[in-house]
C-alpha cells in the first residue's frame, strides 16, 4: 500500500519510512498495520456518551475556544454504529449501565473507550447506592481522564494519548484486542463492601423505631410494588 504524502511530511512520528533511495519522493514503504493505524488515529469518530457535567465540558472541547477539530476527532456521532471511540463523560447510574453496555457492544471493531471524569473513572464524589463505582468494572476502558470535570485541555491531551495508543498497538485486523480476555478494571465488589452488605442484610429485621412505634408491627422494608 503506497500512500502519497507531500515530501517532508514524514517526520519522526510518522509511520512511513523511505529507506530505499531509488523510489520517487512521494512513495513510502510501510506495514499495513502501521498505515491503517495511522489512518484510524487521525480520523477517530467519538461517540459522546455524555450523561452529566462532563458532557458540558465535552461540548466546550468541541466548540469555539478549544476546537477539537484541530486534532482530527471532532466528528461526534450519536449512533454507536458509526463510531470507534467511546467517551463516557459523566457518572453512570445503575439504570444507565445496561444502556452503556449495550451501546458499547453495538460499536464496530476496532474501538476504544475513554473514561472521562472522576465519576466515570471511580464514582467520584457519588459514593452512593445508585452510582456505578467506575465504568471500568463492567466495560473495558483504555484511557482515564481525571478531573471533576476535566478541563478541555485535559480531554484533548487524553484524546492525543489515545491516538498514540492506536498508532502504537493498532493492527489491521484488530488482533491486539483478542488477548485481553480478562476484565481489566477492579472487581465489582471490594472485600469490605461484601462485609458491609452482609451486615446490612442482618440489620434488615431488627429496627430502631421511635418509642411510640415500638408496639406497632415491624415494618416490611422491601415492599412489593402494587
Amino acid at each position: 500500500m503506497a500512500i502519497a504524502t507531500p515530501a517532508g511530511a514524514a517526520g519522526s512520528s510518522s509511520p512511513f519510512v523511505n529507506p530505499q533511495k531509488g523510489l520517487p519522493d512521494n512513495v513510502f514503504l510501510t506495514t499495513l498495520n502501521a498505515a491503517s493505524s495511522w489512518a484510524r488515529k487521525n480520523s477517530l469518530w467519538p461517540m459522546p456518551f455524555a450523561t452529566a457535567c462532563c458532557g458540558i465540558e465535552l461540548m466546550a472541547t468541541a466548540s469555539s475556544r478549544h476546537d477539537l477539530a484541530r486534532f482530527g476527532a471532532e466528528v461526534m456521532r450519536f449512533s454507536p454504529r458509526q463510531c470507534d471511540l467511546m467517551i463516557v463523560a459523566g457518572r453512570v447510574a445503575m439504570k444507565m449501565m445496561p444502556v452503556l453496555q449495550r451501546i458499547w457492544l453495538q460499536m464496530p471493531e476496532p474501538k476504544w473507550c475513554i473514561s472521562m471524569g472522576a465519576c466515570a473513572c471511580t464514582g467520584g464524589v457519588f459514593d452512593t447506592y445508585a452510582v456505578v463505582q467506575g465504568v471500568d468494572r463492567f466495560i473495558p476502558v483504555d484511557l482515564y481522564v481525571p478531573g471533576c470535570p476535566p478541563r478541555p485541555e485535559q480531554l484533548i491531551a487524553g484524546i492525543m494519548q489515545i491516538q498514540e495508543l492506536v498508532q502504537r498497538t493498532g493492527t489491521m485486523q484488530g488482533t491486539e484486542f483478542q488477548y485481553r480476555n480478562r476484565p481489566t478494571g477492579p472487581a465489582p465488589f471490594d472485600a469490605d463492601e461484601i462485609i458491609r452488605i452482609r451486615e446490612g442484610q442482618l440489620q434488615l429485621t431488627p429496627l430502631e423505631l421511635p418509642v411510640s412505634l415500638k408496639q406497632a408491627q415491624t415494618p416490611t422494608l422491601t415492599q412489593a410494588t402494587p
Partner: protein, 162 residues
C-alpha cells in the same frame, strides 16, 4: 391565610407552627384531602410548589415515622403555606393530590419511589427514579447510603468478547 378561620372550618384538628418566614399547618392524614381542597378553592392556593417526605426514624423527639410536606403558593398574593401530615408504618397511605394540582403527578411518584408511601387515587403510581426492579426505598433512614449492592449487579464485559 387566616389560620383561625381555617382551623374552625376543619373543626379544630389543625396545628400551626411558624419558623423564620415559614408558616406550617399540621393536619391529620384523614383530613388532608378536605383541607387541601379548601385551601385550593377557597384559600386561593393555586400553585403546588413541591411535595416531599421526611423519614423521622432517628429524629429527636419524633413520634411518627413519615412526614409528608406540601409547599403551597398563592400566586395572586404571593403567600406561601406549608402543609404537613404524618403517616406511619406499616403501609403508609395518603390520598393523592393529582386531581387538585397536576404537580403532584411526578412529585408523589418520587415520594412513593424513595419512601414507599402509597398515594391512593394516583393515576400512575410507579417507580420514577430507581429502576422498576429495585426493591428498597432509598431515602428511608434504614437504607444504607452505599446501598445493598445493587450498583454492582451487572455483567462484566471483557475486551475480547465485545
Amino acid at each position: 391565610m387566616d389560620f383561625a378561620a381555617l382551623n374552625e372550618h376543619l373543626g379544630g384538628v389543625l396545628k400551626s407552627e411558624a419558623f423564620r418566614d415559614n408558616n406550617r399547618v399540621i393536619v391529620p392524614a384523614n383530613r388532608l384531602e378536605e383541607l387541601m381542597s379548601h385551601l385550593k378553592h377557597v384559600g386561593g392556593f393555586d400553585f403546588l410548589s413541591d411535595v416531599t417526605c421526611v423519614d423521622y426514624l432517628e429524629y429527636p423527639g419524633a413520634t411518627d415515622r413519615f412526614g409528608v410536606v406540601y409547599v403551597l403558593v398563592n400566586t395572586a398574593t404571593r403567600e406561601r403555606l406549608i402543609v404537613k401530615t404524618f403517616v406511619n408504618d406499616p403501609a403508609p397511605k395518603l390520598p393523592s393530590m393529582y386531581s387538585l394540582w397536576k404537580t403532584a403527578d411526578w412529585t408523589e411518584r418520587e415520594v412513593y419511589d424513595l419512601f414507599g408511601i402509597h398515594f391512593t387515587g394516583h393515576p400512575n403510581l410507579q417507580r420514577i427514579l430507581c429502576p422498576p426492579e429495585f426493591e428498597s426505598h432509598a431515602l428511608r433512614k434504614d437504607y444504607p447510603l452505599k446501598g445493598r449492592g445493587e450498583r454492582h449487579n451487572f455483567p462484566v464485559i471483557t475486551r475480547a468478547e465485545s
